[in-house]
C-alpha cells in the first residue's frame, strides 16, 4: 500500500502544476472513414510531457484506428498531427520512430531463439568496425537496462525461456531505453500481465513519466488499472471523443458510464420476450459443476438448457475462452469438477469425441483454427461431418453436400459462387457463416460459440445473431462467449459474467442493462473480499 500512497502523491504533484507541462503531441480534428463510413470523427487530443494519458473505449470505438494514426501506420482522412511543434500532414512509422514515438503493440512476434540482449538491440546494434557486433558490449548495456526494470537475469537468456509477462516488460524497456521513446504508446500491454507485474510496470511508467518527462499513452480495456495509473483519461465511443477527464475528478462508475453512454443504451428489449424463455430445468442441455482448470478458471458451475442461449461475458483473459476450449475438448483434459452432457457425465478428451457426443465448438481464431484455406467451400463446410454424406460403399455423395450448402446459403444469406470455389474467395463474414453452417450441419445438441461475430461485417453479424436467436435456439443449448456486451444482449436469455476465472454474476434477459453488465465484467461493484480472493492470478496468463 505504501507505494500506491507515494504514487498518488506524485500524481497530485503533477496535476498541481499543469503549466510546467508542454504539449508534445497534438491530434487536431482527426477523422478516418472507410468507403464513406466514419470510424473516427473530429478527434482533438493534446498529450503533455510527463503525463500518463489513458485511452479507453469498447471494442470498435476507434481506439486501434486512433493508435494506428498516431503511430503512422494508418493515414487519417481528415485533420493533422502536430509533433513537438511540427505540423505533419503525413506520418509514417519510420518518421514516427525518428520523432521517438514508439509503439509497443498488442501482439509481438518475439524471436524465441534470440537472447534478451539481442532482442533489445536488434534493429539497432551499436555500430562497430566492419559491422561486427560486440556481444560483450551489448550484454553490458542490456544489464544496465535490465537493472532499471529491476530484473536480476543473465542477458544471454533466450527470450523463449522467459514467461510472457517478462517479455512484455522487456519490450517496454526496449522502447524506453533502446529506442529512447519520448512518446510511448502501450497498446493493451497489461492484458497479459498478472498483478505483480502490473505493479512493476506501473511503478516504472510513473517513474519515467515524472523523472524523465516522457509521455505515455496507455490503452487498456480495464477500468481499474486506468484509474490507478493514468493522469488523464480520454474516452472514445462510436468513433467520437466523448471526454478527456482528469482522473482525480471522476470515479470508476462515471468512467464506465462515459464508455457505455449511460444506462438507457440498448435496454430496449421488449419484456414480452420473457415468456419465450423455456424452463431449463426440464430440458437438459449440459451442466457443469465446480469446474476448475489450472491457471484459467475456478469453481465454475452453471447449466444451459436446450432452447436457451446463455451468454458468457468477460474481458479477454478472464478465462471464458479457456472454459469453452476445455468443454469443447480442445485443451488437454486437466480440469477438475463435473461436466454433464444431457444426463451423462462426460470427460472432454478430444473435439472428435465431443462432436460425436453432440457438442460442438466454434473457435474465435477463424483464420488459424477453423478454415482450410486452400480447400473448397464444400470441403470447409464438411469438416468431419461425413456420416450423413456417404453411401454404403463409403463413397461421398457430393450432390447431397451441395444441396445442404445451398440450404445453409439460404438460411444464413451467404454470398458465394459455386461450392467448388476455394474458400479464400469469400469475405470474412461469409467465411464465418460457412464455419457456423458446418457446426449447425452436425446436428448437435450443444453449441459453444466463442466470439461468433468477431471480424465480420455488420450485415453478417446481424444475420448470424438473428439466426442463433430465432433458429438455433429452438433445439439446441447454446453457450455464447464474447467481450462484446451488445452482441450478447441481442441474443441471450441470460448473461453470466466471468471475472478473473470465476462467474460472479448472472443477468436475466429482463434485467439486461449494458452499463451494469459492462461494469460487472470490469469487476466494478463486486465486493472487495471476493476480488481479493481472486487476485492470486487466476484467469490471467
Amino acid at each position: 500500500m505504501n507505494t500506491i500512497a507515494v504514487d498518488t502523491m506524485n500524481k497530485n504533484a503533477i496535476v498541481e502544476f499543469p503549466s510546467a507541462q508542454n504539449t508534445v503531441y497534438s491530434v487536431k480534428r482527426v477523422g478516418k472513414s472507410y468507403s464513406g463510413i466514419a470510424v473516427l470523427s473530429d478527434i482533438n487530443l493534446d498529450f503533455l510531457s510527463g503525463e500518463i494519458h489513458g485511452i479507453i473505449g469498447k471494442n470498435g470505438a476507434g481506439k486501434t484506428t486512433l493508435v494506428d494514426i498516431m503511430h503512422g501506420s494508418n493515414i487519417p482522412s481528415q485533420g493533422e498531427l502536430i509533433v513537438f511543434g511540427e505540423k505533419l500532414s503525413k506520418l509514417t512509422p519510420s518518421k514516427a520512430h525518428e520523432k521517438r514515438i514508439v509503439l509497443v503493440p498488442q501482439k509481438t512476434n518475439y524471436a524465441d531463439d534470440l537472447s534478451i540482449a539481442e532482442s533489445l538491440y536488434i534493429g539497432g546494434y551499436p555500430k562497430k568496425f566492419l559491422g561486427f557486433v560486440n556481444n560483450r558490449d551489448i550484454e553490458k548495456l542490456s544489464k544496465q537496462i535490465l537493472k532499471k526494470i529491476d530484473f536480476e537475469i543473465n542477458p544471454k537468456t533466450k527470450m523463449g525461456d522467459l514467461p510472457l509477462e517478462k517479455r512484455r516488460l522487456i519490450e517496454v524497456a526496449k522502447a524506453l531505453w533502446c529506442f529512447n521513446a519520448k512518446v510511448l504508446i502501450l497498446d493493451e500491454t497489461t492484458a497479459a500481465l498478472g498483478f505483480k507485474f502490473r505493479g512493476k510496470l506501473f511503478k516504472l511508467l510513473r517513474k519515467v513519466a515524472i523523472e524523465e518527462g516522457r509521455t505515455i499513452i496507455f490503452i487498456s480495456h480495464r477500468l481499474d488499472e486506468m484509474m490507478e495509473i493514468c493522469d488523464r483519461i480520454s474516452t472514445l465511443r462510436d468513433g467520437a471523443l466523448i471526454r478527456t477527464a482528469t482522473t482525480k475528478d471522476i470515479d470508476i462508475t462515471q468512467l464506465a458510464e462515459l464508455i457505455t453512454g449511460g444506462c438507457d443504451n440498448g435496454n430496449g428489449k421488449s419484456k414480452s420476450e420473457k415468456n419465450n424463455i423455456i424452463d431449463t430445468a426440464k430440458t437438459n442441455g449440459f451442466r457443469v459443476s465446480r469446474l476448475s482448470y489450472p491457471g484459467s478458471f475456478s469453481d465454475v458451475s452453471f447449466k444451459v438448457g436446450i432452447g436457451e442461449v446463455v451468454g458468457l461475458a468477460g474481458m479477454v483473459g478472464s478465462g471464458y475462452s479457456d472454459l469453452l476450449r476445455y468443454l469443447g475438448g480442445i485443451l488437454p483434459n486437466q480440469g477438475s469438477g463435473k461436466f454433464f452432457l444431457g444426463d451423462n457425465e462426460i470427460s472432454p478428451h478430444s473435439p472428435a469425441y465431443m462432436i460425436k457426443n453432440g457438442l460442438g465448438y466454434l473457435t474465435n481464431k477463424r483464420e488459424e483454427e477453423a478454415l482450410f484455406h486452400d480447400l473448397s467451400i464444400a470441403d470447409n463446410f464438411i469438416g468431419s461431418n461425413f456420416k450423413k454424406y456417404i453411401n454404403k460403399l463409403g463413397l461421398i455423395k457430393h450432390e447431397n453436400i451441395d444441396k445442404n450448402i445451398r440450404l445453409t446459403q439460404k438460411n444464413l444469406d451467404i454470398k458465394m459462387p459455386s461450392p467448388k470455389v476455394t474458400i479464400e474467395n469469400l469475405s470474412g463474414g461469409n467465411k464465418q457463416k460457412i464455419i457456423v453452417g458446418r457446426l449447425l450441419d452436425y446436428g448437435l445438441k450443444v453449441i459453444l460459440f466463442d466470439e461468433v461475430a468477431e471480424g465480420v461485417d455488420i450485415g453478417a453479424r446481424r444475420t448470424l445473431l438473428d439466426f442463433i436467436r430465432n433458429n438455433v435456439r429452438k433445439d439446441t443449448a447454446v453457450l455464447m462467449a464474447s467481450n462484446v456486451v451488445m452482441d450478447l444482449m441481442d441474443v441471450c436469455d441470460r448473461i453470466m459474467i466471468i471475472f478473473q476465472g470465476s462467474i460472479i454474476k448472472t443477468f436475466d434477459r429482463s434485467n439486461f442493462d449494458e452499463h451494469q453488465i459492462y461494469s460487472s465484467l470490469q469487476g466494478i461493484g463486486i465486493n472487495e473480499e471476493a476480488k481479493n480472493l481472486n487476485t492470486s492470478g487466476i484467469g490471467r496468463r
Binding site: G328, I330, S350, P351, A352, M354, I355, K356, G360, Y361, T363, E368, E369, A370, L371, F372, H373, D374, L375, D379, I382, G383, S384, N385, F386, I390, G394, L395, I396, H398, P417, V421, N425, R438
Partner: protein, 326 residues
C-alpha cells in the same frame, strides 16, 4: 471480380501435363529416333516404379508429412517378402512373396507413423533415420542380392501382351489404374478428404473433429505399401533384388512429386498430376540418353532441368494469379 479466371485455373491445375506435352513435342522434333510408339511405351514402363514411390510421397505431402524412407522400403520390402516365402516358410507358394512384401511395406509405414505421431518426431528426421536403418539392414540381409525371384514378380513387372505390332507391359496398366484409384480415394472417400484437410490445417482439422493422428498414421502406411509395390515392379523388371536398388532415388521422388504440383505446404496438389511429374522425369532422362550428352553430365542436366521446370511453374503461377486478382 475474383472468379473470372476459370480457364486460367484450368491451365494452372494441369500445368504439368502442358510441360509433359511440351517436352515430348520438342524432343520428337529435335532428337533423332525419339518419336516412336515403342519409345513412348518404354518411357511409360520405366516410369512405373518411381511413380509408385511418388504416389506414396504425394499422400504424405498432401497431409503435410514427408516420407524419406520410401527408397529403402522399395528394396527391403521385396527382399523380406522373398526371404519369408523361400527361407522362413519354404512350404508355401513362393508367389506369396509379393503379398509379404506389401505387408512389410505397410508395417514400415506404420512404424514411421508411430514415430511421427506418438513420439512427435519431425517426419523428416524420423523417416531419414528409417531410410538409413533400412538400407543398412538390406545390406546385411543381402550381401549382394537375390538373383532368383518368384514368377509373380516377373508377371507384374516385366510381362507383356501384344496389341498389333506392339508389346505392352502389364505394368503400365497396373500403375495407371492404381493412380486412378488413388485419385478417386482422395476425392471421394472420407480418408482422402481427411488427408487433405489435415494437411491444409491440422489445428482446424482437429477442432473440426477429424482424427488427425490416425489419419497421419494411415498416410504413412499407404506410403509404405506404395513404395513396396514400386519395389515389386522394379524387381520384376530386373529379375533380381540388388541391395543397392533405389539408392539415391529419394531425390527424384521428391522432384517428381513437387513437379507434379503437390505442395510442400500440405493440402495442395492432385494425384494425377504427380503421375505427370514422374513421367516428366522419365522423359527428361530418356531425352538425355538419346542425345549424345556425356554420361557424366546427365545428373547435372537432370538437376538443372528440374530447377528450370519448377521456376517456370512458379513464375507462371505468380503471373496468372496476378491476372486473376485484377
Amino acid at each position: 471480380m475474383v472468379f473470372k479466371g476459370s480457364h486460367v485455373k484450368l491451365i494452372l491445375d494441369n500445368f504439368i501435363w502442358i510441360l509433359v506435352l511440351l517436352f515430348l513435342v520438342i524432343a520428337s522434333v529435335a532428337v533423332n529416333g525419339f518419336f516412336s510408339v515403342d519409345n513412348f511405351i518404354n518411357m511409360s514402363f520405366h516410369s512405373a516404379s518411381l511413380s509408385m514411390m511418388i504416389l506414396g510421397m504425394a499422400f504424405c505431402l498432401l497431409s503435410k508429412q514427408m516420407d524419406l524412407s520410401v527408397e529403402s522400403t522399395y528394396v527391403i520390402a521385396p527382399a523380406i517378402g522373398i526371404l519369408i516365402s523361400t527361407r522362413l516358410f519354404p512350404g508355401i507358394p513362393d508367389n506369396f512373396a509379393v503379398f509379404f512384401a506389401l505387408i512389410a511395406g505397410g508395417i514400415i509405414g506404420f512404424i514411421n507413423g508411430l514415430l511421427v505421431v506418438k513420439l512427435r518426431i519431425n517426419s523428416f528426421l524420423a523417416t531419414l533415420a528409417m531410410l538409413i536403418v533400412l538400407r543398412g539392414l538390406v545390406e546385411y540381409l543381402l550381401p549382394i542380392g537375390i538373383f532368383e525371384v518368384p514368377t509373380l514378380f516377373g508377371k507384374l513387372g516385366a510381362d507383356t501382351f501384344i496389341i498389333g505390332d506392339y508389346a505392352i507391359p502389364y505394368t503400365i496398366f497396373i500403375y495407371f489404374s492404381i493412380f486412378f484409384i488413388a485419385n478417386f480415394i482422395i476425392r471421394n472417400t472420407v480418408f482422402g478428404k481427411n488427408v487433405v484437410a489435415v494437411g491444409s490445417n491440422a489445428t482446424a482439422a482437429f477442432i473440426a473433429g477429424i482424427k488427425v493422428d490416425s489419419t497421419h498414421i494411415f498416410v504413412f502406411i499407404v506410403s509404405g505399401i506404395c513404395a513396396a509395390f514400386g519395389g515389386v515392379l522394379a524387381v520384376g523388371k530386373m529379375g533380381s533384388v540388388m541391395n543397392q536398388l533405389g539408392n539415391g532415388d529419394i531425390l527424384f521422388v521428391f522432384a517428381g512429386t513437387v513437379l507434379g504440383g503437390v505442395s510442400l505446404d500440405g493440402g495442395k496438389g492432385k494425384i494425377m498430376n504427380a503421375l505427370g511429374g514422374g513421367l516428366l522425369l522419365t522423359i527428361i532422362t530418356t531425352i538425355l540418353n538419346y542425345s549424345e550428352v556425356s554420361p557424366y553430365l546427365i545428373r547435372a542436366i537432370q538437376g538443372l532441368t528440374l530447377l528450370v521446370a519448377i521456376v517456370l511453374n512458379n513464375i507462371i503461377e505468380l503471373f496468372l494469379k496476378s491476372r486473376i486478382s485484377e
